[in-house]
């Protein structure tokens, strides 16, 4: 491989290709062993993968946030019992059994991390991105959250309090970002366009009205 091939290639992990192939072979062999022994049904694995690739993802959380922004009664239920309010939209289960929603205000910005592993609210956000599980985020989110926000291009006023929630138990946190100004009278569908995944983790802010078409 020439040097050129490596330019601008920032991979999520730095194992070379041969090592990846070794892992690929190992996983394939393991799946065939477990199938032959009758411990797993490969068709069940396909259903699982499809679920996490197509049905469980941040678009679910986007609906929760947009509804909370546009429906005060729903907002109240979400803040009181997030698990039940999220289940109203038909999102529930694994890694979201005990949900808590934390709301950003002009005075306080919330950020969620799991310093010990990768705890993340799957039913509303899907599986976590690589950076969320990475050492830089897990190490610095609790000690230097403003520095982490800078890595994401976000600067908050010096006076804004920063609250970091380390998910050390089975409570899963979803950040409810602040509804952008200039969206009065917008429908839930229009508001949904503004909600980003990172704004629901606390490493980003929602889009502003002039950032969408």
């Amino acid at each position: 491989m020439s040097d050129h091939d490596h330019h601008g290639h920032h991979h999520h992990h730095d194992h070379d290709h041969s090592e990846l192939s070794e892992t690929e072979l190992r996983v394939r062999a393991l799946e065939s062993i477990l199938t032959e022994k009758g411990y797993v049904d490969p068709a069940a694995l396909d259903v699982l993968i499809d679920l996490y690739e197509k049905k469980i993802g941040p678009r679910n959380g986007v609906r929760v946030v947009a509804k909370a922004w546009s429906d005060p009664a729903y907002h109240a239920r979400l803040m009181k019992d997030a698990t039940a309010a999220i289940a109203e939209l038909d999102y529930s289960g694994r890694q979201g059994e005990h949900m808590v929603v934390v709301e950003n205000t002009p005075d306080q910005h919330n950020m969620v991390v799991c310093t010990l592993c990768s705890c993340y609210p799957h039913p509303v956000l899907g599986l976590p991105p690589v950076w969320y599980k990475s050492a830089p985020y897990r190490s610095r989110a609790v000690s230097d959250p403003r520095g982490v926000l800078k890595d994401f291009g976000v600067t908050l006023p010096d006076t804004t309090k920063i609250r970091v929630w380390d998910s050390t138990a089975e409570i899963r946190y979803l950040v409810l970002p602040m509804r952008p100004a200039g969206t009065e009278g917008w429908s839930e569908e229009q508001l949904a366009e503004l909600v980003t995944r990172d704004s629901m983790i606390g490493t980003g802010l929602p889009k502003q009205p002039d950032e969408i078409d």
Binding site: H12, H13, H15, L20, T23, E24, L25, R26, V27, R28, A29, L30, I33, K37, G38, Y39, V40, D41, A43, A44, V47, L48, I49, Y52, E53, I56, G57, S92, G93, R94, H98, T115, L116, C117, S118, V130, W131, S134, A135, P136, Y137, R138, S139, R140, V142, S143, P145, V148, D151, D158, K161, R163, V164, W165, D166, T168, A169, E170, I171, D198
Partner: protein, 220 residues
């Protein structure tokens, strides 16, 4: 255990680098390793705390050099070997060399979605009143369990305030060892930045962890 996985406050890992439009999985083997791990938990008979312990209980250089799903794969292999479901020789050779452990039933495709949607709630009925009240000052115990714990090192010995009571939840420290659920009161404990990181810390920062009752002691 005080392992490489306990990263809060560690230095030197550099900036957080996000990948634009990141896919859910980057390689096909990641899909299969993830699905195998989730699908093997019930037939294999382990719980989430045992899974976490199997992933974190490895030499730091191993934990830090493997990718996330490589750690999952290694954890899965450990859990299966420990229970005699497969042998190391089978994993290394890629061939079935011994009969399956009897009485193990694979998850059927129709069972997957209901099981994921049900999840595994960890709240249990309370057997005793909560020891700490909302607003109370507490100190995190300075303990160093050699097995699985969810008490991160960066809060041990520090003073915090009880902010929420989440009810009684399965205790990972015992559940990870197969020593029972021992449900305990679970609290959100909040710390001021300077309490954790010294007087030069960002005064606008506060951090919370969710902590089981036996991780806490009265502040005075």
């Amino acid at each position: 255990m005080d392992g490489a996985h306990d990263m809060g406050g560690a230095k030197g890992f550099g900036p957080v680098v996000a990948e634009p439009n990141e896919p859910v999985f980057h390689e096909d083997w990641e899909r299969r390793a993830f699905a195998l791990t989730v699908a093997m938990a019930r037939p294999g008979g382990w719980n989430i705390d045992m899974s976490r312990f199997a992933r974190e209980n490895r030499p730091p250089e191993d934990y830090l050099s493997k990718s996330y799903f490589q750690i999952w794969l290694a954890g899965l292999e450990t859990l299966m070997i420990e229970r005699g479901l497969v042998t190391r020789e089978e994993i290394e050779s890629g061939k079935v060399l011994s009969p399956p452990k009897p009485g193990i039933k694979a998850i059927a495709p129709t069972e997957v979605t209901p099981a994921i949607r049900r999840g595994g709630p960890t709240e249990r009925e309370a057997k005793a009143p909560a020891m700490f009240a909302i607003g109370e000052a507490v100190r995190m115990k300075d303990i160093h369990p050699v097995t699985h714990t969810r008490l991160p090192q960066y809060v041990r010995g520090h003073l915090g305030t009880i902010e929420h009571n989440h009810g009684c939840h399965v205790f990972p420290d015992t559940n990870s060892l197969g020593k029972g659920e021992d449900p305990q009161w679970l609290y959100t404990v909040r710390f001021d930045g300077p309490e954790l990181w010294g007087k030069d810390a960002d005064p606008t920062l506060s951090v919370s962890v969710d902590a089981w009752e036996s991780y806490l002691e009265r502040a005075s």
